[in-house]
């Protein structure tokens, strides 16, 4: 009984953390000034948030096979950074102007 309570509380904590990190990534996609910065927010914070939510799903649902959760986590962990890297690569190829603290640079 106590074990079930601990697992449920951990699942709730992971779900809240995942929602928080996803919101941070959404604010970054919405508010950052540059395509490079936006893909950076997408590639790091959003991966962390979706992995937290998938782990919470694996903890909260008893009849869920663990290899399916591991497969989904591995798939997210591969696909989102690769997509983020592709954005940065084609922005680099197109010579988009970059934002820095001292202002916009055209490279």
């Amino acid at each position: 009984m106590s074990m079930e309570l601990i697992i449920s509380g951990l699942a709730a904590l992971l779900a809240v953390a995942g929602g928080f990190f996803l919101m941070v990534a959404g604010v970054g996609v919405l508010r950052l000034p540059d395509a490079y910065c936006r893909s950076h927010a997408l590639g790091k914070a959003m991966t962390l948030g979706i992995i937290c939510i998938l782990l919470a799903m694996g903890l909260a649902i008893p009849d869920l096979a663990w290899w399916k959760v591991a497969l989904a986590v591995a798939f997210q962990l591969v696909t989102i950074p690769v997509a983020s890297h592709l954005f940065c690569l084609i922005a680099y190829r197109r010579r988009l102007r970059r934002w820095s603290v001292s202002g916009w640079t055209l490279d």
Binding site: S8, G9, A12, L42, I50
Partner: protein, 113 residues
Amino acid sequence: MKTLLAAVYPLDWALIFLVGLAGAWRIVRGPTVLDRLLGFDALTVAVCALIAVHSIRTRTADYMELIIVVTGLGFFTTVAFFYYLIQTTPNSRSSSLDEPDRPAPGARKGDGA
């Protein structure tokens, strides 16, 4: 203890819905086509997270394959669009990334072949 997970559900739903709205706003208002593609990717991840939160709420394990399939759909859409973009973009850099068009910062003058 089910009340704690039930209390988490609307909070997570609101946060992830904000992520989806941010992606949709980036699709509408992106200055370049890259920003629109990036907003689509954010929207796909938000859809995956909403499916996961919904299946936590209803305690079913039936949607796990749906999460994997939606992730694959978003990724392959992004890669296909990227392939189209990189074929239609006039390449303003050197054609091969292995041959930089300027010397490395640490290279001395006599180093080249």
